[in-house]
Symmetry: C2
């Protein structure tokens, strides 16, 4: 046993079968805040092998009591590519070294191949070395704009490891926004400075998801435009209601480059936490999050179970061949199943 037995009273030696010992050790190390164990746990959780899935379930049961005890702040940082998500995350973390941050970033590797055009290896480099920060790039494969089917499980492990802030970097469009908003307590939408064009692009939906709007790159030539954008958003948002009837949606202009507005953003985040705690919204938020998680997992479980049936597999092969030979009537093929 590597870790101290006193760390978690739920983990007693002998309570588990032989093959569970390594999971038990892993759980203890995660609860002790060891980052290498956390990384290993995430890899286990993201694995699709059924052996690993059994182990992951054991792991979750072991960390559950601590997970429930220590909820973190789950914050989504959402916006189009190029809006400056990573830069803002870096700035926020650099200014708050006393907090523990887990950052779930989008891995720039694509579904089809690996890597981006320019060197993305330097992303998050400045914070990746800090003791209070754990950075985990998640593969974009099977991803919906930055949110994976395992994001919730990964957050849970980070919470068990003692990270009190979880930042999810996400490309927020359409359904992925809705998905991520159901996973987090605070949804921050980043937008580029610009004329009325972008404002025209805001849909009620996105606004009803956002708890905060940040106009980025308010530096140099763009400072004036950014401030105009921020007030245009403020006016537009005033017409609508956010998720919480009595809560206005803060709208701020920020320059990560010139470190302008980062303090103000952190202040607004804290005001939001106070509001959230005062209204006891955290429990409501957590229940909604668990419900959504359940629905998502249910769909995956059903599909997997179905595909294991040999008769189904035979039919699927037959249909594949028919499509290869030119069948177009999907509607008829499926009535076979």
């Amino acid at each position: 046993m590597v870790a101290d037995k006193n760390i978690n009273p739920h983990l007693k030696k002998g309570a588990f079968a032989q093959n569970e010992t390594s999971v038990s050790t892993l759980a203890q190390r995660i609860l002790a805040g060891e980052t290498s164990a956390l990384a290993q746990g995430i890899t286990l959780v993201e694995s699709n092998s059924s052996k690993d899935e059994v182990k992951a379930t054991q792991l979750f049961n072991l960390i559950k009591p601590d997970y429930v005890k220590n909820p973190s702040w789950r914050i989504a940082i959402s916006g189009s590519p190029g809006v400056g998500k990573s830069t803002i995350i870096e700035a926020l973390i650099s200014e708050n070294k006393e907090e523990k941050f887990a950052v779930l970033t989008i891995d720039p590797s694509s579904e089809d191949s690996k890597g981006s055009i320019l060197g993305d290896k330097t992303r998050m480099e400045s914070i990746g070395m800090m003791d209070n920060v754990f950075v985990r790039p998640s593969p974009s494969k099977n991803f919906l704009g930055g949110v994976s089917s395992k994001t919730r499980e990964v957050m849970l492990l980070c919470e068990a490891a003692g990270y009190n802030h979880i930042l999810i970097e996400t490309v927020g469009v359409g359904q992925s926004e809705t998905m991520v908003s159901k996973m987090v307590d605070l949804f921050i939408l980043l937008v580029l400075p610009g004329s009325g064009d972008e404002i025209q692009g805001i849909k009620r939906g996105i606004v009803e998801l956002a708890d905060m709007v940040v106009v980025t790159k308010a530096d140099g030539d763009r400072e004036t435009v950014a401030k105009q954008s921020a007030s245009a958003y403020k006016n537009a948002l005033h017409i609508l209601k956010g998720k919480y009837q009595n809560k206005s949606i803060p709208t701020i202009a920020i320059s990560s480059l010139e470190r302008q507005g980062i303090e103000k953003l952190w202040e607004e985040i804290n005001k939001y936490k106070d509001y959230f705690n005062r209204e006891n919204s955290i429990n409501k938020s957590r229940k909604l999050q668990v419900g959504q998680w359940y629905d998502d997992q249910l769909k995956q479980a059903i599909y997997k179970k179905f595909l294991q049936d040999p008769a189904v597999q035979k039919n699927l092969k037959k249909h594949e061949k028919m499509i290869e030979e030119g069948a177009v009537d999907v509607w008829n093929l499926l009535s076979d199943l």
Copy 2:
């Protein structure tokens, strides 16, 4: 019977039971190119009632021979909100009045409520009145960045009605891009003019999906920047390979406002069609599209079937109650099913 019996030899009176007469009439009217019938057919196809689903299947079987005979060009117009998708679609159509266009647009209504902040009712107004154009806004509910679970079926009806170009307006991010790229023959990515910032944002994935890149809003002050962007993209794209090894990806700057570059875009679209026809890629493309459609439909069918089981329904209710009471262990709940 409203329509001429000679329109489609597959539709003979008496071949259908009484309750199928209306579907048979609808099919004839769609094949005759009646837009009101097409709209009605789409509504039928988008309906979730099981009665309508039976009718939709009948409808597809009736139009199938014509659908196979008359494939259209399926073109995705993809890009972030505000990039100018609708404007380019309007410009393209206005310049090509001899072609028949079906335009599947994103309805700006959100999942949570209806309507956008500014009046989006005027979108596509100029083309909506034209004889050669059919515009269908699809609800964003259950949408993945503009692509719905029924987009393929809707395209099929439009093809049966004789539209030889189908333009799908889509907010292309992450998985929705991959989805739409598997539905179309030509994927056009629109980007805003800007500095190297945006180029940095391109991922291999998006480039491997795009068959053409268009830098929009190349007018007034932005013309120079737009042209610089276009050549920066060209250089970046040169390093990578597109979907087709021997085909370079055209990169053009365009101003819908000043009607600059629209002709060039249409020319590039036609060059692409020639290439596609020459390589006989249309058959390959169609087979891939049908395969993907099959996979998507399969998942939906399985889920639906599963939820009809009374034992399953009972379990789901039990779990819902447990979550309401504070259960967080989704991983254990699901092992019940």
